[in-house]
């Protein structure tokens, strides 16, 4: 064991009550940081999860049609009438799809056609969104199979998977037939193979998932798709990626972040309040460590004087105290990590939903512990700087005389 560490550990051991106190202080600080992070991360993850349960991370679609005036003289009076928008296919979408699949950061791409329609069974009818998809691609964007409440995830020929709420309103069960009519009068019948609950009322009430081909026929877009849906690795980098994709393809790219701007604002203000709290916890812990170490420097000034008289250099004395700070941070992060994790678990077990899942989802991962430990150790080191300077600046001649 090197000299500085040896002396630092002995000084800490000698401190007993003081050392216990700063260990406790640092541990509680780390515990609060871990608990708070676990809670807020969990909460945010579950919010984002719920939101993205029925949404792609990025949507690509053809740009809106715009009228180009033929006269562009400044003297002429021109009124541009915005044309009515119709469903448009993405030009050469197969090529775009392959391009997307090769783009780093994109994990899945799913083509789809979507349009308005009417679903009817007997005398009941409901306004719906017809979505023609390739099931094996679509399930990688939105995990329908795990959210089925009845039937199975199968879209072959004239089969459809619909929302639970729509099924209830139309009185449809798995195995029934549903008639879908689009705005321009095309109609087709589908066998309902499954019912899903994607967690969003709107979606459960309106979505009718059909095979891509059937969708194309119904919406009069044979061979075409209206949107490409993307899943990406970096959830919060989705907007930046969307902008890049838009530039490269000339298509309109929208990320979940623009489509859910309010949620994002809420998440951000949550995060900033959490950083604020953590900042003040760190300050409080740092002040605690620093003040205890300063007291210990005063108490040990005689010993520091002897060390220096014996030939210990100023940087060595400095390191003895910096190491004490770091050790406090390290012990604090170990004990605090355990305390924080225990607290989070306990809290999660207190409030549970009827199905046994926690009301307050918590998210504890290794990264959180590593970050908290790093923060604690750096805080310990930094709080030891002032005491260490004070110790290393002691004049041995003076200290030994005065003792």
């Amino acid at each position: 064991m090197p000299f500085e560490l040896f002396v630092a550990l002995r000084f800490l051991r000698e401190g007993r009550a003081q050392t216990a106190l700063i260990f406790a202080g640092a541990s509680v600080g780390v515990a609060v940081i871990i608990f708070l992070s676990a809670l807020i991360d969990g909460l945010q993850a579950s919010l984002v999860d719920k939101t993205l349960g029925s949404q792609a991370h990025i949507l690509l679609r053809a740009p809106d049609e715009a009228a180009r005036p033929l006269v562009s003289s400044p003297d002429a009076l021109v009124q541009v009438v915005r044309p009515a928008q119709r469903l448009r296919t993405i030009d050469q979408w197969q090529q775009v799809l392959r391009l997307m699949e090769r783009t780093p950061g994109v994990t899945a791409v799913s083509p789809s056609v979507s349009g308005a329609g009417l679903a009817s069974r007997g005398t009941a009818s409901r306004s719906i969104v017809v979505r023609g998809v390739e099931p094996e691609r679509f399930e990688r964007i939105i995990d329908v199979p795990s959210k089925l409440v009845a039937g199975q995830w199968r879209l072959l020929g004239a089969e459809a998977v619909i929302g639970q709420k729509l099924a209830r309103e139309l009185g449809v069960v798995v195995g029934d037939t549903l008639r879908v009519t689009t705005a321009d009068g095309r109609a087709d019948s589908f066998l309902v193979t499954g019912l899903f609950d994607l967690g969003t009322q709107e979606v459960n009430e309106r979505w009718v998932l059909v095979p891509l081909r059937s969708g194309q026929t119904l919406l009069d877009l044979v061979g075409g798709v209206t949107t490409l849906e993307l899943r990406v690795t970096d959830l919060f980098g989705a907007q930046a990626l969307a902008e890049r994709l838009s530039q490269r393809t000339g298509l309109v790219a929208e990320s979940w972040m623009t489509l859910n701007a309010q949620l994002l604002v809420a998440l951000q203000s949550q995060s900033s309040s959490r950083y604020m709290i953590q900042f003040f916890v760190i300050i409080a812990v740092a002040l605690g460590i620093a003040s205890v170490l300063v007291v210990s420097v005063v108490q040990k000034s005689r010993e520091i004087g002897i060390l220096k008289a014996m030939g210990t250099t100023t940087p060595q004395v400095m390191r003895v105290f910096l190491i004490q700070g770091a050790v406090v941070g390290l012990v604090g992060s170990l004990l605090g990590g355990l305390m924080g994790a225990g607290l989070a678990r306990f809290f999660a077990s207190l409030a549970t939903n009827p199905d046994g899942s926690p009301t307050f989802p918590i998210q504890l991962d290794a990264k959180l512990f590593l970050t908290a430990s790093a923060v604690a150790i750096v805080t310990g080191l930094l709080s030891a700087v002032a005491p260490a300077r004070r110790a290393s600046g002691l004049d041995p001649a003076v200290v030994i005389r005065e003792a």
Binding site: F6, E14, E303, A309, T313, T314, A397
Partner: protein, 235 residues
């Protein structure tokens, strides 16, 4: 060729204060040869502590030179002085000044540990030898609070010898001990001096102790007023 003296002071002056200058030491010249066993005496306030601090490289003279084994210490920075201190000087203080958090053995090892950074077996063996020399081998694992004043001072002596210093500076080494223990501790210093030809400079108030040294240097009002060599007694 005559070997370099262990210590040579040339025209050492020390002043304190900026506006009102107090001169504590006046133009001191002093030489200690290897193997000397000298006492530094003088009334309190005479400047002998300041002189000891300057010799111990804990303080710098306002003017003049301090040469340790021929090496000029002017112009060395704090850390160079610390290293030189570690290699050439041993300190024994009045209030023994052991580090309470460390055992006797660890206290004795401390100067070597500070200098080399990592402990090794040689260091340990040397420390145990020194403890044996001061008669405390079996107390190696004891903490200072578990030892008597005399034992603590003997550990402090062993610690001062760890780096085989050229010069041992002892500030009232027996000032804190009763007469019997005091005599024992003094005898130990004397013994080491004779056995190892190690040079000692002992600051003391006690005239009887000073009388037993080979040389008595007396400081009054910042000047050396007398410097007499006693005929060396046999054993």
């Amino acid at each position: 060729m005559k070997p370099e003296p262990v210590l040579r002071l040339v025209g050492v002056t020390k002043e304190y204060g900026e506006e009102v200058v107090t001169r504590v030491l006046h133009d001191i010249d002093l030489t200690l040869e290897q193997g000397e066993f000298a006492a530094l005496i003088g009334p309190s306030g005479s400047g002998k502590s300041t002189l000891l601090n300057i010799i111990g490289l804990l303080d710098r003279p306002t003017s003049g030179q301090v040469l340790l084994q021929g090496q000029d210490t002017r112009g060395l920075d704090e850390d160079a002085l610390a290293r030189l201190r570690a290699r050439t000087l041993g300190f024994i203080f009045q209030f023994h000044h052991l580090m309470p958090a460390f055992t006797a053995l660890e206290n004795v090892m401390m100067p070597a540990l500070a200098e080399r950074g990592w402990p090794d077996e040689r260091m340990r063996t040397r420390a145990l030898e020194l403890l044996a020399q001061v008669g405390l081998k079996e107390r190696a694992g004891a903490y200072p609070r578990q030892m008597s004043g005399g034992q603590q001072q003997r550990v402090a002596i062993a610690r001062a010898l760890t780096m085989s210093p050229a010069l041992v500076l002892a500030d009232e080494p027996t000032g804190n001990l009763d007469t019997g223990t005091s005599a024992q501790v003094f005898e130990l210093l004397r013994h080491i001096n004779r056995e190892q030809r190690m040079t000692f400079l002992i600051v003391t108030h006690d005239p009887r102790l000073a009388q037993q040294c080979d040389r008595i240097i007396e400081v009054v009002d910042g000047r050396i007023v007398s410097d007499r060599r006693e005929p060396r007694r046999s054993g």
